[in-house]
Each structure stands twice: as structure tokens, then as C-alpha cells.
């Protein structure tokens, strides 16, 4: 590589690591300093290009993905289990598919029976479900996506609850599906004591209130209407005000 070729290359690829380039840079008294100068300049370009990213961008991307996935699920209109059942029972002409599904069922049952899969999420204790869901969706604490009252009312309406007054400080609200497929509502409330996560779980009712404590979160799950209400926050300080707001604003039909 001669000096002219080197100069062409260094302005296009300052960090080129091809042997001919590196050798010339190390041996030529003119091109070595030129490379150092261009590389330093490239550092300035890199710094100038490094515009700040919004702090909560990743959280908002994830939140939108959650909303999109839920909308898709709603638009499909049927749960994965229902679609599975449709495939098994509703398409009798497609015997190949039916046999394949039946074989899958037998395999899954066999695997569960032999204990290879350690736990069926449908049998998971509710406190563990709440913990798993909270930790999987903890980024929602960083999101600020207020929701109009009519849309929020619709979420509660899906499982037979009614919004009777505004809930102060809602920074996120959406229907959710817990890890065992149970549908509910997932809200984040901003209180003077910090943010709290609220999970309304309509189809599983705990008998008594239980304390929850996991991975730096504290809270409680208690019977509410036909289901359960779990409220969790970091260190637990926002649990009481958040729970009070929900109990005041949401009624079971």
C-alpha cells in the first residue's frame, strides 16, 4: 500500500485492520500521524452522533408490544387453549392434524406424569403467579401512558367489574393474561409513596388476605368481588393508598 492509497483508505475506514494498512501505518512517518489524527476526529464524529435516547424508550416499546399482543389475542377472539381445542375437535375432516394433536396431548401428559416438566402453571399458587407476572412486566413501572376513562372502563367490563369513579394517578392500564392463561387487569398507579402495581384477577379468589414479598417487592393479595386484588410496590409503601383507590373506584357487577 502506498501513501496515496493509505490516505484514501484512512478517511473511509480509519479503523481498518487489514495487514497492508496496518503495516503501512506503523512504518510510514507521514501516514502514522495522519491515521492518529483521523481516528481522533472519528471519535469526535462518534460523540456528535451519540444523541441521547429517551430514558423510557425501551419501557414504552415493551408496553406497546404488550398492548399489541393483547389486541391480537382479542382479535383472534379465542384463547390458545380454545384454538387448540378447535383444532382437536372442530376440524374432523383433517384427520392427520387431529392425530398429530392427539399424539401431542399424549406426549405432554406423559411428560407431566413422569415429572420431566416440574410444574404446570395452572396449578401454580396464586402468589407465585403474581410474583412471576410482576417481575416479567416490571418495566411497566417506567411507562407513562395514561388511558381515557372509557377505555379503562372497557377493560374492567370484560370481566364483570365496573369503573364507578376516576382512579387517580394511573400511568398504565391494560387487560393482561397471567402466566397460567387467566385474564385480568394490570394497572400501575402513581402515589405520593411511589408507584404500585395492581393486578385484578377475576377468576381466582383467595380465601384470606396474604402478604407478598419477592425480589424487593412487597404487597398483599386479598379477596375482592368475585376474584382477587393484588397490590405490590417496591418496599410496599405505596400498597395501602393504591389499594384504597382501586376499592373506591371499581365495583363488581
Amino acid at each position: 500500500m502506498n501513501c496515496q492509497e493509505f490516505e484514501q483508505r484512512v478517511w473511509a475506514e480509519p479503523h481498518c485492520d487489514e495487514p497492508g494498512f496496518v503495516e503501512h501505518m506503523q512504518s510510514c512517518p507521514d501516514c502514522g500521524p495522519l491515521a492518529a489524527e483521523v481516528r481522533a476526529f472519528d471519535g469526535q464524529i462518534g460523540a456528535a452522533l451519540r444523541v441521547d435516547c429517551p430514558d423510557d424508550l425501551a419501557a414504552r416499546i415493551r408496553a406497546r408490544q404488550v398492548l399489541l399482543a393483547d389486541r391480537d389475542r382479542e382479535s383472534n377472539g379465542r384463547s390458545p387453549w380454545q384454538r387448540f381445542r378447535d383444532l382437536l375437535l372442530g376440524q374432523r375432516s383433517d384427520w392427520v392434524a387431529a392425530y398429530a394433536v392427539a399424539a401431542t396431548v399424549l406426549l405432554v401428559v406423559g411428560v407431566l406424569y413422569t415429572g420431566v416438566v416440574d410444574e404446570d402453571p395452572r396449578l401454580m399458587p396464586i402468589d407465585r403467579l403474581v410474583a412471576e407476572h410482576t417481575l416479567n412486566e416490571r418495566y411497566l413501572l417506567d411507562v407513562d401512558m395514561p388511558m381515557p376513562r372509557d377505555e379503562m372502563a372497557e377493560i374492567f367490563g370484560h370481566f364483570g367489574a365496573q369503573l364507578v369513579s376516576d382512579i387517580d394517578g394511573v400511568t398504565f392500564a391494560n387487560g393482561c393474561v397471567l402466566e397460567n392463561g387467566i385474564k385480568g387487569a394490570h394497572l400501575v398507579l402513581d402515589t405520593p409513596q411511589g408507584k404500585a402495581i395492581v393486578l385484578m384477577i377475576p377468576s381466582r379468589r383467595v380465601d384470606d388476605a396474604q402478604a407478598l414479598r419477592f425480589a424487593g417487592f412487597e404487597g398483599r393479595i386479598a379477596p375482592y368481588g368475585q376474584g382477587s386484588l393484588a397490590v405490590i410496590s417496591e418496599q410496599g409503601s405505596a400498597v395501602a393508598p393504591a389499594e384504597a383507590r382501586i376499592r373506591e373506584a371499581v365495583r363488581w357487577l
Partner: protein
Amino acid sequence: MPDEHDARVRFNRIVSEYSQDVFRYAFWLCRDRTMAEELSQETFLRAWKAIDSLDDEKAAKSWLFTIVRRENARQYERKRLDMVDDVDFERVGAPREEYDTSTEAFVLRRALEALPEEYREPLVLQVIGGYSTEEIAEQMGIKAGAVMTRLFRARKKLREVLGEREE
């Protein structure tokens, strides 16, 4: 078909890893902070819908940049023509440690903004994306030699601007 939970874990990993680079690339394509954010959001929603088609997570960044580029061409290029072609660099980044607020950096950002798009884009792909010349050529649908020429001219032009200032 992979189950939704696994897909979400994978998606979340990709978001954590690449959302900043995607935003920066989007910003330098459209030169508007709000649009760059919309573009980033749209890119990741498209990525979510097609997450099953991503065989190798190591290729995720390149895959995302391709989506950004296509989305920008599809949705935003037309919109941008209607905008005042002046970037408010005071709003580009909140003053934080990693953001260089010196006059020199300001001048360089202005110069980057003023670069013809055909020069700016390969430079952004190289500096932010870490792409090789061949990869940039593939992304932009031009020959590697043309990429080298554009990169050479882009840096030379920027240098001239700073040189003028220093004189």
C-alpha cells in the same frame, strides 16, 4: 411455533440491547426526535410481529436497522419534506454526561445535519452501527467502492467545516 412467553423474553432482550442504537440511527435518518421515537417504536412492533423469522440473535441489529430504513422510506420520508428543515440541536439530547455539549460538537452536529444524505447515511451506519463497508453496501444497495468513496468524502467535508472554524 415457539410459545409467546419465550418470544417475549427474546423480544425484551433485543429491546434492551438495541433500542438506543435503533433510536440514534432513526434520528439521523429523519433528523427529528419525535419522529425518531415513532420510527423506533414502529420498528420494534414490526420486529415483534416477525420475531419468529429471526433465526440468529446476533443478526438482530442488522435486521432492526433494515426495518428502520424501510419504515423510514415507507412512512416518514414524505412527512419530512413538509417539515422545516432545521434541526433543533438544543433538543436533541438532554445535557447528560455522555452528550458532548461543547461548541465543537455543536458545529460538528450541524455539519452532519448539512451533509447530503448519501454521505451521512453510510457514515452513521459505520460509526453507530459498526458495519463493515460490505455490509453498508448491502444495506444501501450500492457497491462497496461507492461506499468507500462516500465515507471518504463525508469525513473530508466534516473536516473542512471544522477546519474553517479553527482558522
